[in-house]
Every structure is written in structure tokens, then in C-alpha cells.
């Protein structure tokens, strides 16, 4: 539809919905001082039942683990779609030259950038690993740690030249990391079925409270999610950065 028709429809929608929105806002429960039954139930029973101290990880990987499985597959589907769209068009050959634009210089990397990247890149990767491993004790988990590790890989792109970066970001490993993470999640959920328990029931030894390796099956699920998120984001970065290289057909 034309732009004026869209704007007219939007104005009508705002005129109808804005008063309704104000009425809804006035009837919402008071901010910060209403009952939180589910939250209180989780906060009071999970530390004793699962021996962990990060309630958000408990909800993600144990109490509502099935929802996280669904989210995991949403991530795998979105990454697959992106990769198919970009890689299918371009082919899988390595392209070495950055794309040239008329009248613009491709500047070489400065030494300060290379030094900073080489100092900070490994530290960011190590910090991401720490965040993943301490999912059940301090704020952290597979999702956060996976994104931090993939941003560390991005920092390495900024400081190394493209050939070196492409050498260690192999698409085969990243594909296996991402798909393997999702597969391990499903297998870790199906394993309790072999022992007569429910899907994703926590049957492994629970460990000590506030220990790094507490929580039982949550540790395996957390590691699987971290692998999948890390692989997915690194694949997306790789495919997008390959798009900025010289198209196929250069000598």
C-alpha cells in the first residue's frame, strides 16, 4: 500500500490503542509491590533441591528446560537460514582480497590496534569461558558466555589480518560446534528416559552448594547451549564478513 495509506492506518491504530494503553497501564499491579508467586516458589525451593545459587540458570536449564530447548532450536534455524542465504549465493571458496570501492583506500591496520587486540582478545576469550563454567554459582551461563566468547573472536578479527583469522575460523568446526551443541542438549534430555525418569529430569549427582560443578544435568545442558550459541554467532559473523570480500571471479 502507498505510504500515505500506511500512515493513515497507523494514525487510526494509535488513536484507538493509545487510550486503551493508558487504561491498561492504570490497571496494572503496582510497580514493585505486588505478589510474585512463581518467583518466590523458585527462590525458596531450588537452592535446597538442586544445590545451586543462580536461580536464573536453574529456571533456564532445569525448571523450564523445555522452553530453552525450543529457543535453542530457534537459534539453530535462524543461523541456518542466514548461512544458507549467504553461503549458497557465494559458494564455499575462500576469497582473499577485500572488496575495492572506487575512490576509497583500504587502510592498513595500525599497530596500536593490533597490540590491543592481541592483549585483550585472549583475555576476553578466557573471561567468556569463566562465565560459561560458573553458570550455577555467579551470574552467567551458556547464553551470556557464548556471546562473550564470540565477541572475543570478533576482536581477533579486528587485530589480525584476514588470512590468519580465516585460518582458524574454520566453517567446518563452527558448524559442528553449533549443531553438536543442539544435539547434545537433546541427548542430555533423552538420557534420563533410559533410566525410567522424565525427559530432562535431573538424575545426576547434584554436587555441593556454591561449587563450580554443582547442579547435575544442568552442567551438560549449559555447556551444550554455550557451544551452540558460540558456534551460531561465530558462523553468522564469518558469513557476513565474507560478504565484504571481493566477489568470485577475481584472478
Amino acid at each position: 500500500m502507498t505510504r500515505t495509506a500506511r500512515l493513515l492506518l497507523f494514525a487510526v491504530a494509535v488513536l484507538v490503542l493509545a487510550p486503551a494503553g493508558v487504561v491498561v497501564a492504570m490497571n496494572m499491579p503496582a510497580f514493585g509491590s505486588h505478589e510474585l508467586p512463581y518467583g518466590d516458589a523458585v527462590n525458596s525451593t531450588i537452592p535446597a533441591a538442586r544445590h545451586i545459587s543462580n536461580m536464573v540458570s536453574a529456571v533456564n536449564f532445569d525448571v523450564r528446560g523445555l522452553d530453552t530447548l525450543g529457543e535453542e532450536f530457534m537459534l539453530v534455524c535462524a543461523v541456518t537460514g542466514t548461512v544458507v542465504l549467504l553461503r549458497g549465493e557465494r559458494g564455499e571458496k575462500l576469497t582473499s582480497h577485500p572488496a575495492q570501492m572506487r575512490g576509497r583506500l583500504n587502510a592498513p591496520r595500525s599497530d596500536a590496534l593490533v597490540l590491543t587486540g592481541r592483549l585483550m582478545g585472549p583475555m576476553v576469550l578466557l573471561f567468556g569461558l569463566y562465565v560459561v563454567l560458573h553458570a550455577t554459582v555467579t551470574p552467567g551461563g551458556g547464553f551470556q558466555g557464548g556471546v562473550v566468547i564470540s565477541s572475543g573472536l570478533l576482536l581477533l578479527y579486528l587485530c589480525e589480518d584476514y588470512q590468519t583469522w580465516r585460518w582458524f575460523m574454520r566453517a567446518g568446526w563452527l558448524d559442528a560446534c553449533e549443531g553438536g551443541g543442539a544435539l547434545i542438549f537433546v541427548l542430555a534430555g533423552a538420557a534420563p528416559l533410559c533410566f525410567g525418569a522424565h525427559f530432562l529430569q535431573n538424575i545426576m549427582p547434584l554436587g555441593k552448594f556454591r561449587d563450580m560443578l554443582s547442579g547435575g544435568l544442568m552442567q551438560i545442558v549449559n555447556a551444550a547451549v554455550a557451544c551452540a550459541v558460540l558456534g551460531g554467532f561465530a558462523l553468522v559473523f564469518l558469513e557476513f564478513l565474507e560478504e565484504t570480500r571481493e566477489p568470485r571471479g577475481d584472478p
Binding site: 497501564a25 510474585l36 523458585v42 536464573v56 536453574a58 529456571v59 535462524a78 537460514g81 557464548g146
Partner: protein
């Protein structure tokens, strides 16, 4: 009046994001406005789970039993942020392919064929 502020800010973000989608003239700008609409849902979910004078739902230095906010909505928003970024990446890949075929990113110039 100020007690309504979180809900009004969430409604404002939703409305302004939709306005940006309706009046956008570049598909990449449109994807940014979609992110604004998503952030409205994050704000409303976290404000629903808040409690005055409570701490985060992590019992590492403090013992279990101290007042804490709701961890269920935090788990929802946490996964949603990461998935939202991946979906934005998918939409950007679509926009890049569209530009390769049609040479433009203007929604007005890319009408469906009649």
C-alpha cells in the same frame, strides 16, 4: 503518576518503533526499529518481575532466603535477547540478498509485481 512510568515507557518504545517501521525508507533502518519494538517487551517483562528493596536472584554471598526479584521473567528475557540478535542477522542477510538482486533497499521502490 510516576508509578505508571515503566508501562508508559514500554508503550512509548512499542509505538515509536512501529512508527519507524511504517515510515522507514531503508530496509536496514527498518530492522533497527524492529529491535526497538523488541526492547519494549524486555522492559515490560523485567518491570513486572521487580520488587522494592530486593536483590538479584543469585544467592552467592547472601544466603538463600534473602528477598530477591523474580528469576522466571529474567530467564525469559535473557534467551530472548540472544535469539533476537540472531533473527536480526537473518533479516539483514535477506536485506543484503535483496540489494544484490534489485540494487535498492527502498521499500517504496520495491513494490510487489502486479
Amino acid at each position: 503518576m510516576t508509578a505508571l512510568l515503566p508501562w508508559l515507557v514500554a508503550a512509548w518504545l512499542l509505538g515509536i518503533g512501529l512508527y519507524g517501521i511504517v515510515t522507514s525508507s531503508n530496509y536496514i533502518h527498518l530492522i533497527g526499529c524492529l529491535n526497538v519494538v523488541q526492547s519494549a517487551t524486555y522492559v515490560i517483562l523485567l518491570c513486572v518481575g521487580y520488587r522494592w528493596n530486593a536483590g538479584p536472584p543469585i544467592f552467592d554471598p547472601q544466603p538463600p532466603g534473602t528477598p530477591a526479584v523474580d528469576p522466571v521473567v529474567q530467564a525469559l528475557v535473557l534467551t530472548d535477547i540472544v535469539i533476537g540478535a540472531t533473527v536480526s542477522a537473518l533479516l539483514l542477510a535477506l536485506a543484503v540478498q535483496l540489494h544484490k538482486r534489485k540494487g535498492t533497499l527502498d521499500p517504496e521502490a520495491l513494490r510487489p509485481m502486479r
